[in-house]
Structure formats: structure tokens, C-alpha cells
């Protein structure tokens, strides 16, 4: 597939300081991305507030700004450097959120910055809980019974209808921040309040708990022509209920028969085809250990912690290929 030659200067947003939920994997991916883009003869402008990374090394990017990762400072960098494009998916959740916000606030338009790689719409489809739900309905993929709420009372009402325990998932947060499992109304109230507060868009998803189901992930890669490969499958040794970042994870998945494996693999491919991802994506499934029933839990249309694991487990550097 031919390269877009109008791209001359790309802005890459890093992932900021190491925090729980977003650690070094983005240094690895950001560094690979910078090198990969440089290889193509394109200039790289990097912004990241974290001075400890290789990514923010002298000379890693053509222009390196160790500045606060806020919209105001990003705009300053854009105004000074005038990149023509921006890649959203190399800075983890932080990079993604900031890219979306720059887009929403019209700053990308103002400075004529094009989003390359996975589009903002696709990112939102993956991240925004409402869009995610609609996307799954559109692609005929089963999801766990859930509803989006923007206030605590609606959460309680919905929980009444689907029954406890329920899981709270705030939109646009990393590492499941602000979320949790609620076994009763009191717990739901507490968790939900915090979740709404921490979500960038004041949105949380209330979902039926499928504790005990197997948690299987796929790292997939797709190019602009629609060619897809599943780079790696992973199975969480700890079942659904423990965040995948805290679980012991084994690659490849161990307990799936070929039929189950292919079923999920095909589902993952269908999903990334429908949101037309260009680059890497992580798809998380829950699989009933006693039937073929499964549900899509989450998709991350960006390089993630799992892709670092997948890259190293398979010796296929995902973050290097994704930007190309």
C-alpha cells in the first residue's frame, strides 16, 4: 500500500509520567514509533512530560519538548512547530485523550493538523462506552448487558434490573481507574460517584458481572488495505474480575480448543475491520467456560501494555509497524 507523501512532520504525544496503569510500555512504543517514522524520512515532534524515558532522549525525535501534557502547552508546541500530522495511539490513554481533546476543541483544525493512523472517530468508537456499545451492536458482537449512566441514581436503577454484582467502568480512564465491582447498592453508590468524577466525559458504564468467565485477549494489526493479522493471543490466568494488568497472563492462550480460538480470532478481526483501524488494536473477550458464549469486554485501538507483552513474546515489534 503506497505511502502518503504529504506527511512531512508528525507530532507524537507521549504518555507522561509512570503511574499505575500506564508505565514503561509506552516508552517502548513511543521510541519505536519515533524511530519508525524517522526511517521514513519524516520529521518527528515529540511532547512528553516525563524526563526519564528513552523516548525523550536528545536526538530521538527531531524536536523534543518535555512540557506539561495539557491542551494549552500542546497548542503552544503545535503553534511553534506546525506539524502537518498527529499520531494519537502511541502515548497510551493519555495520548489518546489529549488527541481527542485537541480535535474536539478545534485546535487540530485551526493549525491544519491531520490525524494519521487510526482516526479520532475510530478511537472514540473504541473508547467511548456508548459508541463502543453501538459499534458492537453494529458488528453483531455480543457484549455484556450494560448501560451508560451519567449520574448515580440511574446506575442504581439499572443495577436493579440486571442484578448484582455489577462492574463500574468509567469512560476514558486508564487502568480501570475509578471503577470497581459493586456487590450491593452502597458499594455501587461509592464507586459510581468516584468514577463519574474521574471520567473525562463524566460517563460510566454499569455492566453485569461475568465473574468466572475466561479472559482472552488478542493483539491485532490491520493496514489501510484491510489486511489483518492476529499477532498474539493471551489468556489471563486470573479470571474476569481481576484487572488484566494485575493478572498473571500467559501467551498464547492455553485452554481454548481450535473452534473457540478461531471464533474469537474472527470476532477480533471483524471488529477491527469495522472500525477501520490502521495500526494495532487490543481486543479483550470474556468466554464462558461452559459454552461458546462470549462477550467483547473492551477494545483498545492503540498500543497497550498487552502489545508490549505481545511484541516481546512474539519478537514482532508492534509499535514499529503500527505507525507505518
Amino acid at each position: 500500500m503506497p505511502r502518503d507523501n504529504s506527511i512531512k512532520k508528525v507530532l507524537v504525544i507521549g504518555s507522561g509520567p509512570i503511574v499505575i496503569g500506564q508505565a514503561a510500555e509506552f516508552d517502548y512504543s513511543g521510541t519505536q514509533a519515533c524511530q519508525s517514522i524517522k526511517e521514513e524520512g519524516i520529521e518527528v515532534v515529540l511532547v512528553n512530560s516525563n524526563p526519564a524515558t528513552i523516548m525523550t532522549d536528545l536526538g530521538m525525535a527531531h524536536y523534543t519538548y518535555i512540557e506539561p501534557l495539557t491542551i494549552d502547552f500542546l497548542e503552544k508546541v503545535i503553534a511553534k512547530e506546525r506539524p502537518d500530522s498527529i499520531i494519537a495511539g502511541m502515548g497510551g490513554q493519555t495520548g489518546l485523550n489529549l488527541s481527542c481533546e485537541l480535535y474536539d476543541r478545534g485546535i487540530l483544525d485551526k493549525y491544519h493538523v491531520k490525524v494519521i493512523g487510526t482516526s479520532i472517530e475510530s478511537i472514540k468508537e473504541g473508547e467511548d462506552r456508548d459508541s463502543f456499545k453501538r459499534l458492537m451492536e453494529r458488528t453483531n458482537q455480543p457484549i455484556v448487558e450494560s448501560d451508560i449512566v451519567t449520574d448515580v441514581d440511574s446506575a442504581i436503577d439499572f443495577a436493579q434490573t440486571i442484578g448484582y454484582p455489577v462492574i463500574v467502568r468509567p469512560a476514558y480512564t486508564l487502568g480501570g481507574t475509578g471503577g470497581g465491582i459493586a456487590h450491593n447498592e452502597a458499594e455501587l453508590r461509592e464507586i459510581c460517584t468516584q468514577g463519574l468524577h474521574l471520567s473525562r466525559v463524566g460517563q460510566v458504564l454499569i455492566e453485569k458481572s461475568i465473574a468466572g468467565w475466561k479472559e482472552i485477549e488478542f493483539e491485532v494489526m490491520r493496514d489501510g488495505a484491510g489486511n489483518c493479522i492476529t499477532v498474539c493471543s493471551m489468556e489471563n490466568v486470573d479470571p474476569v474480575g481481576v484487572h488484566t494488568g494485575d493478572s498473571i497472563v500467559v501467551a498464547p492462550a492455553q485452554t481454548l480448543s481450535d473452534r473457540e480460538y478461531q471464533m474469537l480470532r474472527s470476532a477480533a478481526i471483524n471488529i477491527i475491520n469495522s472500525i477501520e483501524i490502521k495500526g494495532g488494536c487490543n481486543v479483550q473477550f470474556a468466554l464462558d467456560p461452559n459454552s461458546y458464549n462470549y462477550a467483547v469486554i473492551e477494545i483498545n485501538p492503540r498500543v497497550s501494555r498487552s502489545s508490549a507483552l505481545a511484541s516481546k513474546a512474539q519478537a514482532i515489534p508492534l509499535p514499529r509497524s503500527a505507525p507505518k
Partner: protein
């Protein structure tokens, strides 16, 4: 520590691997190949294309989800031996009905475990597919005994061994296909039947006349074991069937038989393609699909009337052909997968569509 029976694999080039026996213990000789699929060992075990072969699994943990009666690709395993790094003795899956050790035992297949399968894979990829003996007479066979075993081994009758005895019909209301069973996988039959096809399944050496007497809309040639050049009678039958003007479709061995019938040539690959991650490119659209493959032989030279439709991205070999004018179309890979990726399933829909388009004209 469990009690184990020692066994070894002796390769034709002298390299030996010592391990433990499992399954049904009997000495066995076969063509040693490796397959890279990480799931689907049951489908692999029961794939008749492996008849005459000793199959090595590159993935080190095999048997994790056990064996079930549903995922059988044929009536029984036809392979000569099964080599793994570690077999699972306590499988777990909701459909698991038996463990792999027992399955092999019941079907009288010899297994070898606890060898360095990666080292074996590397030998095979560097030196090519070769014969091997699995024996419990460790360090006991004399060089002449070994030579004799290798010399007397042949896989020329593999199709005869795996084909069915009598024809049968799988009913359906849609397109009527006459299927030649040269060791066909149930997955292919399933995928065709799923699409409403009526399938008249014939043993491999059935005459063209008898097949045509069933009045099919098209002919389908499935997969099977061995060298296509070992069954010239079947190639001749295929030639006759093509000449009738009926659509003729094929997968794997079927594709090779069709190609030979059309005047192309087949050759042996160094170590074959076995696994579920082979990328093939559709020459018309440029799209690449990940496919399941299991073959030692490949179509190598195309005759004038034939053009390639798919090629393998890894080594450029031919993965699919079509006749330039006649409705003849075949692929080397397995769109039915079982095991493997389902990316090319829609090929079956394409086949059927093609048959339906040709139907009014093909009726003589």
C-alpha cells in the same frame, strides 16, 4: 515421578531424539513433518492428509483441552506417529471427553513425548522432510534393520487407505456437488452442507461415468494424503470430468489433481506447509489472507490454459489456480480451516456462486 517407557525417533539422516512413548506402543515408520498450529491438534490428528506421516507439533503443550467426538475430521486418525514436547494429562474444557494419551491408544497410534521438538523442527527445515522411525528399542536397532525399515516404507497407497468404501449422500436442497473422497476432511463437507449443498460423496477410484450418472451440478475434489502423482487413475478421471464442461473445484490434493489433469506439474516442497498462519495473496485484489495449510507437494509449472489466482507470500509458491476459460477453480490452502483461521471461508460462497452462474450452460 511417573513411570515412563523410553522411546526414540531415528531420522533418515542419522539424527536421533530420545524421549518417552505414549499412546499405543508399537514401532512405526513414517515421513516426518512438523506443523506449527498452536490449537487444533485434534483436527490435525484426524486429518487424513497426514496419512503415512509422523507429525511433530512445534507448540510445546499439546492436549490441553482434550479430545471430543465433535471435532473429528475423519473416522479415525491415519497418521503413523505423533511427536510432542509435552502432552497434557489433565485436560480441561467443557467439551473434553477424553485425553490425548487414551485417544491415541484407542486408535493404535504411537506417540513420542519429551523430545526437543524445536531442534527437530530445525533439522527438518534445514534438511527437508525425511523418513523416521519411532521405536522403543532404544539404541537397539542395527543399521541394517534401520535401513530396511526405511527402504520398505512407502506412502503410495495412502489415498486407498483413507478413502471410503461405498458412496453415500448428504442431502441438501441447493447445489448438487459430486465429491471425490481421497481422504477428505469432514470440515469441507460440513461447510458445503451448511450452505445447503447436496453432496454425493464417492470413493476416490470411482469412474467418471459413475460420478456423472449422479447428475451433479459440479464436481468437488477435496484434500487427501500423499503424492498426487501416485494416483494417475484419479487424475485421468478428473480430466474426463473437466472435459464435460461441468464446474470442477478443488482444495489441497484436489487442487493438485486438477492441475495435473490440466497439464501442469507438481513438485515436492522442502518441508511442506503445515500450520495455520500461512499468508496467501489474492492476485486480483492484492489482499492477503491468513490460511490453514497442510501439504508437502505444490503445483509448480502452469500449463498454457491455467493461471494462478493466489500465491504464498512467504515463498512465492502457487496457492490457487483457475482455468482461463473453463469453470475450473482450485486452491492449495484450506478455506474450511479446521483447524485454523476462518479468513477464507467465503471461498465456499464464491464456489457456489460460480456453479450457479454456470449451471444453465453446463447442462448438456
Amino acid at each position: 515421578m511417573k513411570k515412563t517407557v523410553k522411546a526414540e525417533l531415528i531420522l533418515e539422516n542419522g539424527v536421533r531424539f530420545k524421549g518417552n512413548a505414549f499412546g499405543y506402543i508399537k514401532e512405526t515408520v513414517g515421513e516426518v513433518v512438523f506443523t506449527t498450529g498452536m490449537t487444533g491438534y485434534q483436527e490435525t490428528l484426524t486429518d487424513p492428509s497426514f496419512a503415512g506421516q509422523i507429525v511433530t507439533m512445534t507448540y510445546p503443550l499439546i492436549g490441553n483441552y482434550g479430545i471430543n467426538l465433535e471435532d473429528m475430521e475423519s473416522r479415525k486418525p491415519f497418521l503413523k506417529g505423533f511427536v510432542v514436547r509435552e502432552k497434557c494429562d489433565v485436560p480441561n474444557n467443557w467439551r473434553c471427553e477424553m485425553d490425548i494419551d487414551n485417544f491415541l491408544f484407542q486408535n493404535k497410534i504411537m506417540g513420542l513425548e519429551n523430545i526437543d521438538t524445536r531442534a527437530l523442527t530445525r533439522v527438518l527445515r534445514d534438511h527437508g522432510t525425511m523418513r523416521g522411525i519411532i521405536t522403543t528399542r532404544v539404541d537397539d536397532l542395527t543399521p541394517s534393520q534401520i535401513k530396511q525399515k526405511f527402504d520398505t516404507y512407502t506412502n503410495a497407497y495412502a489415498v486407498k487407505e483413507t478413502t471410503i468404501d461405498k458412496p453415500y449422500v448428504i442431502s441438501g436442497r441447493g447445489t448438487h456437488l459430486a465429491v471425490l473422497d481421497c481422504g477428505i476432511k469432514h470440515g469441507i463437507l460440513r461447510d458445503l452442507s451448511k450452505r445447503g449443498c447436496k453432496l454425493s460423496v464417492f470413493p476416490a477410484f470411482t469412474s467418471a461415468e459413475e460420478i456423472l450418472a449422479a447428475d451433479p451440478d459440479a464436481i468437488f475434489l477435496g484434500n487427501g494424503p500423499g503424492d498426487p502423482k501416485d494416483i494417475p487413475d484419479v487424475v485421468e478421471t478428473v480430466r474426463k470430468l473437466i472435459d464435460t464442461g461441468l464446474p470442477v473445484l478443488g482444495i489441497c490434493l484436489g487442487h493438485q489433481l486438477i492441475s495435473l489433469a490440466l497439464g501442469c506439474n507438481t513438485t515436492r516442497l522442502k518441508f511442506g506447509h503445515h500450520g495455520g498462519n500461512h499468508p496467501v495473496k489474492d492476485l486480483k485484489t492484492g489482499r492477503v489472507y491468513i490460511t490453514s495449510q497442510n501439504h508437502e507437494f505444490v503445483v509448480s509449472d502452469l500449463s498454457e490454459d491455467v493461471e494462478a489466482t493466489f500465491i504464498n507470500v512467504n515463498d512465492g509458491s502457487i496457492e490457487g489456480i483457475r482455468h482461463k476459460t473453463k469453470p475450473v477453480y482450485s486452491v492449495q490452502f484450506h478455506p474450511e480451516a479446521s483447524p485454523g483461521p476462518l479468513d477464507t471461508q467465503e471461498l465456499f460462497d464464491r464456489f457456489i456462486k460460480m456453479i450457479e452462474e454456470v449451471k444453465p450452460h453446463a447442462k448438456r
